[in-house]
Symmetry: C2
Amino acid sequence: MSTNALPTQSSDFPAWYGEVVRRAGLAENSAVRGAMVIKPYGYAIWEAIQRELDDRIKATGHENFYFPLFVPISVLAQEGELVEGFAPELAIVTEAGGKTLEEPLAVRPTSEALIWATYARWVQSYRDLPLLYNQWGNAVRWELRPRLFLRTSEFLWQEGHTAHETEEEAVAEALTILHEVYADTIENVLAVPVLRGRKSESERFPGAVDTYTLEALMRDGKALQAATSHYLGQGFPRTFDVRYTGRDGSEQYPHATSWGATTRLVGGIVMAHGDDRGLRRDTRWKPQQVVIVPILREEDADVLHAAAALADELREAGVRVRVDDRPEHRPGFKFNEWELKGVPIRVEIGSRDLAAGAVTVARRDTGGKEQLPVPRAASTIDELLSAVQASLFEAARDVRERRTLRDPSSYAEMIEYLREAGGFVVAPWCGQSECEARVKEDSSATIRLLPFGDEPAPSGACVCCGRPAVTTAVWAQAY
Amino acid sequence: MSTNALPTQSSDFPAWYGEVVRRAGLAENSAVRGAMVIKPYGYAIWEAIQRELDDRIKATGHENFYFPLFVPISVLAQEGELVEGFAPELAIVTEAGGKTLEEPLAVRPTSEALIWATYARWVQSYRDLPLLYNQWGNAVRWELRPRLFLRTSEFLWQEGHTAHETEEEAVAEALTILHEVYADTIENVLAVPVLRGRKSESERFPGAVDTYTLEALMRDGKALQAATSHYLGQGFPRTFDVRYTGRDGSEQYPHATSWGATTRLVGGIVMAHGDDRGLRRDTRWKPQQVVIVPILREEDADVLHAAAALADELREAGVRVRVDDRPEHRPGFKFNEWELKGVPIRVEIGSRDLAAGAVTVARRDTGGKEQLPVPRAASTIDELLSAVQASLFEAARDVRERRTLRDPSSYAEMIEYLREAGGFVVAPWCGQSECEARVKEDSSATIRLLPFGDEPAPSGACVCCGRPAVTTAVWAQAY
């Protein structure tokens, strides 16, 4: 670990992000431009996210399967919008087994084409529907301006691909995934608050009828698209000639959805919670929720014994705890390291504390410290973990609310706010792509989402052109 | 599901295998030659294997990480033996992001080269050792004669890559993985018995000093290499210039291991346990251990009620159970389907049984059926699951023992046995590669392993050349 101070968030957020990712051991660049090495600590976060998402994907009735990495160009090319959307980002295998291939193979940028070409064999009757499947794997989209976790030429993700009898059922599926799988994991486990809504036409997934999205605000005022789900209509089924005999005996095309969440979520956690001392994180991650640092000024068996006893008590209560008794490092070094890595609770046990029958407990989220009597320490720490989880979420929501500009008084105010990456702007919009394009040109900001109908209908005029608004839109610069 | 009978194992084992894999919904071929679609039921098996292996990999002190899919050809080419071993099987990306790449990228056939190129940055001092890391992912080795699960151009696997101070420690690591991770999972969870030993020089992994292997016998008398671990010596560290300052202050190269297990294990389960009715399988898999088929001849609420009550009771005992009450299929169809899919225990509940206060329980492994009084059904089924697990293992071991020819009386007898894929031949060997090559030419069989030293030293002469034997060898045709 470098002993230099981290760059501060306010002085240089991108430098802060890169240094935290590197020094906390989350990831590093590789010999392949744009592809990263996800280091053990970063991968442990991804594994935790995977487990949480996978549990919810299965609880909502889905099974996992696995399709090949390679997609023949001719299969990909059948779906015009998809290939147009991804062509500039494809990596292409032209040689294999010592020969030039007759037909080049794309490394999957996403698997709709290959999966729907196969669903043609799996769906004959309405009794075969719905198909509720998900895949965990890697995907490749060539990236010219790579950034660890946020934009990488290869990323890890899950991609769900479902087929349904009716539009109503497919839309319900895409919304179930958005709310019960993605938002539940991201808000209630990762403690990152998200806005929920649909994309404007220009921001939709290639080939989608509707794209639903979760948008989180990072601490530099930029938005991060945290996960998306798509109602794809009948485009893929028509392209790949997937037909079934319906309940009334007539031939039908199924309705499709797809949905994905990627390793960029790891970057999102860093930027939503981190501070100038490093990572802060939710309390549910492995490898540990609590670290105990014995303060050993001389040979001190009592201190080590007390640390081990507290660790045992916590483990019995189901808390993941580590005793950091490495002899080669001083306590101050260890405090810095665990703060950098974001372990939610640190316990310090020294002989002076112990003589007074107490230990010191430090919260990573607030920096608060308190002395606890030894007999109460384990139960209080267990309660503290819930408190830390709740307060991280609230702190991130407070940042977002403080940085959200509602109903700007003028177009100029809105543009200035967006250009400085002040945060979200919530404003009425006429629904015309000309206005959307103008805001983007003036500020680099895009419409992140159109909130679901639980907000009141907009009154008044489009913030851009002054014509009557048809919807509320949320703008921001974005990763 | 096709209603035609399966091919029998004795008439055409390869056809039997292909039909079972297809009809049980394990996998199918894709639009990309040699790359398969792993279907939900097949992927559920792989997920179960993954979870079991991953738990043991972590319990033995390893962490997971993730390295890029693409390896620059120049990095791969640094390790001569590795690139020579894999060159004919490489898939190569020559275009990406709309441009021809300055340097082509290989799709990883295995990750030693990229990982050791990176370990050069991670290891400076003996304090940085050992590195104990594992990766879950996909790999590509172009396959000219593909076969579902057994030989596929893309496969899923884990690959472990560790670095150690001493040869002794690295060898111990490779053996720990073989015994405590691989053999424990394959024998005690998958119920497939394995022989343990080392490979002869000609069968070693490219670049390995020693390759340790687990070999299982399939029901057609051919062997399957179930998993391998390698002591790699200091070759990769030297090639990629990975050096550290040792305890005595001198500069050292670490000692390396790597180890892997792949989706071919799924094919191994099918061929080690399956019979002419389809799959048989261990009792631990998801999605279910028990299926309850209510026999509904007319509207019969009592039968459905009894099925639900028994399912609840089993679930409370931690048993995964499904009630198959699909109205569109008759009981006989369901029996065939669950036998094909290998669900270990089937319960039949009909109104006649129920009037007698009983249910019928059928074991998939032996085909045995018995009537059980309703009050004892749940606890007896729970015990039966353990019995099925043990009996599957014993049955597979019995097949192997019956099909193992020890100390053949002549070379001619040995060759005839191997040519007919009779099973394993255990015989003394002189250690010369000429004899190994001659057996291979005469019979297509290879040395599967040299058993670890727990067998008595061979007495007498090499079965091939008559010179004094230096070791016992185990031969077989293999997948």
